[in-house]
Symmetry: C2
Subunit: 434 residues, 2 copies
């Protein structure tokens, strides 16, 4: 094989994904050569501790704890960043691009916060930057949005994009355990970090939704514009009432565009059992994509894990290698070209679920329903049940109403003397129409 | 806009998909220009009857019934073939390629039968040939196989890739109607052709599976190697017994690779309710893809229809236009490079479902189960029910057994005096593991 047929890779990070990348490049060597016509070699791997043992075959010459040996290596063509975190990953990637190297990254935190900067610097240096692995692990969803649906106008993306919270919610529903126990279970199995805050609070999902909205809507969607609500307050009662009414509670990201205005958010929602996302269980991810012309589509697969994530990384690497052979690195990327106009609270509409505790006295339900009527919100489902002595529990599901309307009506509800409190409040997503 | 920034398209066919293509190019004009930096123009449209009215805006100058005016037009860069059928589509496409034109086609019949020839001629002329729309309409499944999973080794694809038969089976299950009535219903709604043979007999699905196997396994998979069994013999009894045992009957294509040997087939199978494909209803399509590294993934969406299919066609066109701008048309395609070795009947293994009518006399079930034991096939489920006077119905689901073993045991079963006949025989697909 000629020198020109060799592509040299510098790997930043050797955790589960990094080891997966090494294994794939080794195990699928012949396939990769057949597809790219090139021999892909790992030249340097940056690790924190060069002496630590790993489960992959790498020589001591390949391993280094000095970033300059990777980023400034004159022969390295592609940097694969799988170390995670913002610092120093951002600095390393910018340095690599400054040195004319193409980049593949699995880093959702970085791409959600600094994707715009990185992509625009890469464009001036004619370098590829691909990041398929940053959203929904092994599912090639970014490719689908950018290429598969390039001809269509996407109106909505709704996704289960965090496996940890989906595992917890699945356990709460199927095993009847409480949030805390489900979380402990997830931690034991390695599905949740020791500090699970970013997952539980919906921040991890918000990062992925910022990336999906940027690519799907062709806008520049900053992470700060993504409202995130987590799952820590979901009770077993919510889960079982939802189930009773034909719904499942899932933490979903929603990116929706109507008349040129967008909303991007993450929150627990009630999904009807017929919704394509409601049967996505455990650590799996799925994204439903709605286009003006294509209608409803759905993409499902493993959202995390060393090997699934590594397939996305190495598939991106294959694209870089093919582009390099054709001499077109950095030429294919289309930046955001649509204006970002966020919806106001009046414009964000959905159905809603409310659970209240009230004093069990005559006329409470009448008072409540009159409040909704005066706000012009019609009710789809009303359920009243006894709750302890002298109290009642009321479950309401509304027809479509705006966030503003719901804010108003909730303020009025808690002002009623008979109302002890609003126990829970969730968005309800529609049927197949999204 | 400079002349060099204009891409001229010749459209072959103006049916529902053709009209969808015209509408998308017109309606999403600005988006397409932003993404490609090029102005895409429909220069000529080949139709059978130039005088027939259509629901799209085209000038009489654009319309022609003379293929030469499209295929030999010196300024046309891309031919979009949406006329369907083998002849004269094959001839037209080869002529277009001979003239150096890139090709986008939605033609599954053609690509399943003559894809190898067309792609190899295109390679010598450095022309792109893309055909995303040929399989599963609006779902970008070919891109996922070729690019998204380029790093992985696909072990299995199982898909509902024919909307007509899925509509019929859904109606049979949900409405309890017989095959003939469900078919008539599908025809009334325009989901089935006047002559539905290709759909009903599984031939349409077989064509799509040949294409999926070729791309997913990187082999040259001829249509003749795809065994197809249709749905015309499925009875309401089969559907309801399957349901009772926790299964749904779906017409699925299976492409499976084990130890380098492949099997590609189409047949009605029993899918457990937990299988990701079992809840795919109506005219929707879905393909589950299993990779060594990625595990289980699934792609779901509309399998047909003018607009969904047109999105796939125009997204391919966008890729052609981008490639043209970079000067790399015809350089990205990787032909099959794996050897095709088909599995023998001994190597095709699955669970199986059998329904028999027997004379209701002592010892019949014992005779039957002994036959299975002597063939080394163990049984997972046995159900015996009275059937009319003096007869019984027996349902059996086996554990994994080869096709050869099942052929043997069925020959022995029908030779038993007490057996009146084997009413039905289906393959049973496993749980999430595929």
């Amino acid at each position: 094989m000629k020198q020109s047929d060799v592509v040299r890779v510098g790997l930043l990070g050797l955790g589960t994904v990094g080891c997966g990348v090494v294994r794939l490049l080794e195990g699928h060597k012949d396939d990769l050569e057949k597809q790219t016509g090139q021999h892909i070699v790992i030249t340097k791997v940056l690790v924190q501790d060069a002496k630590k043992g790993r489960g992959v075959h790498l020589s001591s010459e390949q391993i280094t704890d000095d970033p300059a040996q990777v980023l400034n290596h004159p022969e390295i063509d592609v940097i694969v960043e799988v170390m995670g975190g913002i610092d120093p990953a951002r600095e390393y990637i910018l340095q690599a691009i400054a040195n004319g190297k193409n980049v593949v990254t699995a880093n959702k935190d970085l791409m959600a916060l600094h994707g715009g900067e990185i992509l625009s610097v890469a464009a001036t240096k004619q370098c590829d930057v691909f990041y398929e692995a940053s959203v929904a692990g092994g599912i090639p969803i970014l490719r689908a949005l950018v290429e598969g649906f390039s001809s269509d106008r996407i109106t909505k993306m709704i996704g289960i994009v965090n496996g940890t919270t989906n595992y917890i919610l699945t356990a709460m529903e199927q095993e009847g355990v409480m949030f805390e126990d489900a979380l402990a279970q997830a931690q034991e199995l390695g599905y949740a970090e020791a500090d699970p805050t970013a997952d539980i609070d919906g921040l991890d999902a918000a990062r992925k939704m910022a990336i999906l909205a940027t690519l799907g809507f062709r806008i520049d969607m900053p992470l700060a514009g993504v409202e995130a609500k987590g799952i820590a307050d979901i009770t077993q009662e919510d889960v079982s009432f939802a189930h009773q009414l034909g719904y499942r509670i899932k933490l979903v990201g929603i990116a929706q565009r109507d008349q040129g205005k967008v909303e991007v958010s993450v929150q627990p929602v009630l999904l009807p059992l017929s919704h394509p996302l409601s049967s996505v269980d455990g650590v799996y991810n799925a994204v439903a994509v709605y286009g003006e012309a294509v209608g409803e589509t759905m993409f499902y697969g493993p959202g995390a894990g060393g090997m699934p994530t590594a397939t996305a990384v190495v598939s991106d690497l294959v694209t870089v290698v093919k582009n390099r052979r054709l001499g077109v690195n950095g030429r294919g990327t289309v930046g955001p070209y649509q204006k970002r106009i966020l919806k106001s609270l009046d414009e964000i509409e959905s159905k809603h679920f409310l659970r209240l505790h009230v004093t069990d006295e005559a006329g409470v339900l009448a008072q409540l329903t009159m409040l909704f009527a005066s706000e012009n919100i019609s009710l789809e489902t009303v359920l009243q049940l006894p709750y302890g002595e002298n109290s009642a529990q009321i479950i309401l599901i509304t027809h479509r109403a705006s966030r503003r309307q719901m804010d108003h009506v909730q303020n009025e509800i808690v002002a009623l003397e008979a109302v002890q409190g609003i126990q829970s409040y969730y968005r309800v997503e529609g049927g197949r129409e999204g």
